[in-house]
């Protein structure tokens, strides 16, 4: 196997360089055509905000990974990028790297499940561009399988790893059913938008946005089908909401303790969740002293995030076991490809010999007898070839006896004088399987 590839990611390059080499779908399509013409028979390109990966099977026997980098940089020139900003992979290490990427353990945030979808899309695009052969298709399937198994069989993608999602996690520990709760997000900036999106995705019954600049609140509200609450009249509307996220860039407190106290009085003590995800803080932390008021700031939410990240890290060995499992399966299958042409040639040789002999007696015996002899010949060939074929496949599948498999293939071909078989035919056969 001579799979070769390069990767630029968060471990090898700063964000500026990663952004600079990022490829859009159109760019991937264009580059694929170039790679197909120049260096690869088949391959694929994966490009996300955190990584760009190019893998493929070279047309020539000895391809230097630097040639792939050259092609990439020729297509998308980037200043100040060095060869050392790319990791290079070949054969086993390439397969292992792909499995690690798909399972999320190579991601900036361990267990990132988005990467699996992105990998799937990358393989799909490659297939759409007729850039995949049998081996790459199998590799794609196994890579996706590894990603799925990692999510299903381990907790590597469990738990919130962003502050706004951790806040939602806390809310879910207080309220059982968010579809019966109303939420207010104060601040329509990036953090506020993320929080509002999480709450929207969780299906809160009513979502409202409040922002000092009304137009921004309106824009976010229309995006998420939310209401708008006037920033100036926050205090008198606070009691209407069970969940309040605040993420403004205000210098002082936007919500004082007495405002919360009043709201609680109007709510007749019904629980309220205050998530202060702003720096500096928006909500008076003394609010947490009130009964049935659940207050969290960015520090306390960061505790959850770091706990979850630690737990994800602890799952890495389990994911690595899955990767090892699937590498064994993949290479067992791959190794059998080496013996498939030999098996085909021997079988064809025997079948040809059989039909040759049958044709000699065809006109000398009755049709019924001929059918019986033909059937017997077919069964005889099957029985004669059964053990050698099974043994050859076994030798190849175990993986450790690759040399044995090769020498046995050669031995069989020598014994039956099949060494003259056209090598290109062998390769064609290999590709067909």
């Amino acid at each position: 196997m001579n799979l070769i590839g390069i990767s630029i990611n968060h471990r090898t390059a700063p964000i500026e360089l990663r952004e600079a080499v990022h490829l859009s779908t159109d760019e991937i399509t264009e580059l694929t055509i170039i790679l197909k013409e120049e260096i690869f028979t088949d391959g694929f390109i994966l490009s996300t905000c955190n990584r760009t990966e190019i893998f493929g099977y070279p047309k020539k026997n000895f391809l230097n990974a630097s040639e792939i980098i050259d092609q990439l940089l020729k297509f998308k020139p980037v200043k100040n990028i060095a060869n050392s900003n790319f990791n290079k992979y070949f054969n086993c290490s390439a397969v292992k790297h792909l499995f690690m990427v798909a399972s999320g353990i190579d991601s900036l945030i361990i267990g990132d499940s988005q990467i699996l979808g992105q990998t799937k899309e990358a393989f799909q695009l490659s297939e759409d561009l007729s850039f995949t052969g049998t081996i790459l298709k199998r590799l794609a399937d196994t890579t996706i399988k590894v990603g799925r198994r990692a999510i299903k069989e381990t907790n590597v993608s469990e738990g919130a790893v962003s502050v706004s999602y951790a806040a939602v996690q806390v809310v879910e520990k207080i309220f059982a059913d968010l579809s019966t709760k109303s939420a207010l997000v104060i601040g329509a900036g990036e953090t506020g938008e993320l929080a509002a999106t999480h709450l929207f995705d969780k299906g809160v019954s009513r979502l409202a946005i409040s922002n000092r600049t009304l137009s921004k609140a309106n824009a976010l509200a229309s995006k998420l089908k939310a209401d708008v609450v006037s920033f100036e009249r926050l205090a008198e509307n606070l009691h209407q909401f069970d969940i309040i996220f605040s993420a403004t860039s205000a210098d002082g407190f936007v919500i004082q303790q007495d405002v919360v106290k009043n709201a609680m009085r109007k709510r007749r003590g019904s629980p309220i969740v205050l998530m202060d995800i702003a720096v500096p803080r928006d909500i008076d932390p003394a609010s947490r002293e009130l009964e049935n008021v659940f207050y969290n700031d960015i520090d306390s939410l960061n505790i959850i995030v770091s706990q979850n990240l630690k737990k994800r890290e602890e799952e890495i060995p389990l994911v690595q076991n899955i990767i090892m499992d699937e590498m064994i399966n993949f290479f067992s299958w791959f190794n059998t490809l080496d013996v498939v042409p030999a098996i085909k040639i021997v079988r064809e040789f025997f079948e040809e010999m059989g039909s040759d002999e049958l044709s000699k007696i065809k006109n000398k015996i009755s049709e019924d007898d001929y059918l019986k002899v033909e059937d017997m010949t077919r069964r005889l060939i099957g029985r004669l070839l059964h053990n050698p074929i099974v043994k050859l496949r076994e030798l190849a599948e175990t993986g450790t006896n690759l040399q044995d498999a090769a020498s046995h293939s050669l031995m069989i071909k020598t014994l039956f004088n099949l060494n003259g078989a056209d090598k290109t035919k062998l390769n064609e056969n290999s590709n067909e399987d």
Partner: protein
């Protein structure tokens, strides 16, 4: 039959212990495999326990309610069975470890000291007494479960308020869910205790010529029932919720324990059989 009863008597604490361990492991590690299989453990334990109770009833010709240790095995069964039904209908599976520990303790105590009683007082052979005791025990099992959920609610409430996100934060269901479970358990306990009191009041004059409606056990049980009734009223009609109602029911449960202790240990009456 006797051999089977003796075998099950020894095996039941082990069944419950195994179930408890599976629930504990699931709570601690939350393995997907244990998540479903633990319910099978509990179901099988209950099935064996039911068979054991029926076997005892037929073999000794009386419902196993004639001494403390027979009551203990029924209490173990009632708690586990109530939890099983609650888990089945609510599909909230993370709290079993806190409930099933009671079943393990009661069953161990019962299995160690239970005797094969054939000779019992005639009054204890009455099927009406069987229903009375069963419903009372199931009622107390319900209230015990409510108390456990109440304590879990308090634990989680404090942890969220103080931002200490440990295992309880991670593994317990939400506060609202715990409050619901607490309330459902109270309702079950209240209804069953009501049935027990009702049967007791009707059957009392028939069974005991020297009966008195001022019997300490009857009065204390009625008091507990009224306290929980007030709690239910406050929640449904007045709209109490959260910590306030949980605390009220916890106080109710403490009164129930105290009154049971006082009426069983200190006051002697016709209502004492053991």
């Amino acid at each position: 039959m006797l051999e089977t009863i003796h075998f099950l008597n020894t095996a039941l604490p082990l069944f419950y212990l195994a179930t408890f361990i599976v629930y504990f492991l699931d709570f601690k590690k939350q393995k997907k495999t244990l998540h479903n299989s633990k319910r099978i453990f509990l179901f099988l334990s209950l099935l064996f326990h039911l068979f054991y109770l029926l076997s005892r009833t037929f073999e000794f010709s009386h419902v196993p309610i004639t001494n403390k240790f027979e009551i203990f095995t029924i209490l173990a069964f009632s708690i586990a069975c109530s939890y099983f039904l609650l888990e089945l209908f609510s599909d909230i599976r993370g709290t079993g470890v806190f409930i099933l520990g009671f079943s393990v303790l009661f069953q161990i105590a019962s299995s160690l000291f239970i005797e094969d009683l054939i000779e019992v007082r005639e009054v204890l052979r009455s099927p009406l007494l069987g229903i009375h005791v069963f419903s009372a025990l199931l009622g107390f099992a319900g209230l015990t479960m409510a108390a456990v959920y109440g304590v879990l609610f308090q634990l989680l409430y404090k942890r969220i308020k103080l931002n200490t996100f440990g295992i309880f934060f991670e593994k317990l269901p939400s506060l609202e869910t715990l409050e619901k479970l607490n309330f459902y358990s109270v309702i079950i306990g209240f209804i069953l205790l009501g049935i027990a009191i009702g049967i007791g009041v009707i059957w009392l004059p028939v069974a005991f010529p020297d009966y008195s409606y001022l019997d300490p056990k009857l009065v204390s049980t009625l008091m507990v029932w009224i306290v929980f009734g007030i709690g239910i009223f406050m929640k449904i009609v007045i709209g109490w919720y959260g910590k306030k109602v949980i605390n009220f029911f916890l106080v109710g449960y403490t009164i129930a324990l105290l009154s049971m202790f006082l009426s069983n240990v200190l006051a002697k009456s016709f209502h004492s059989f053991y």
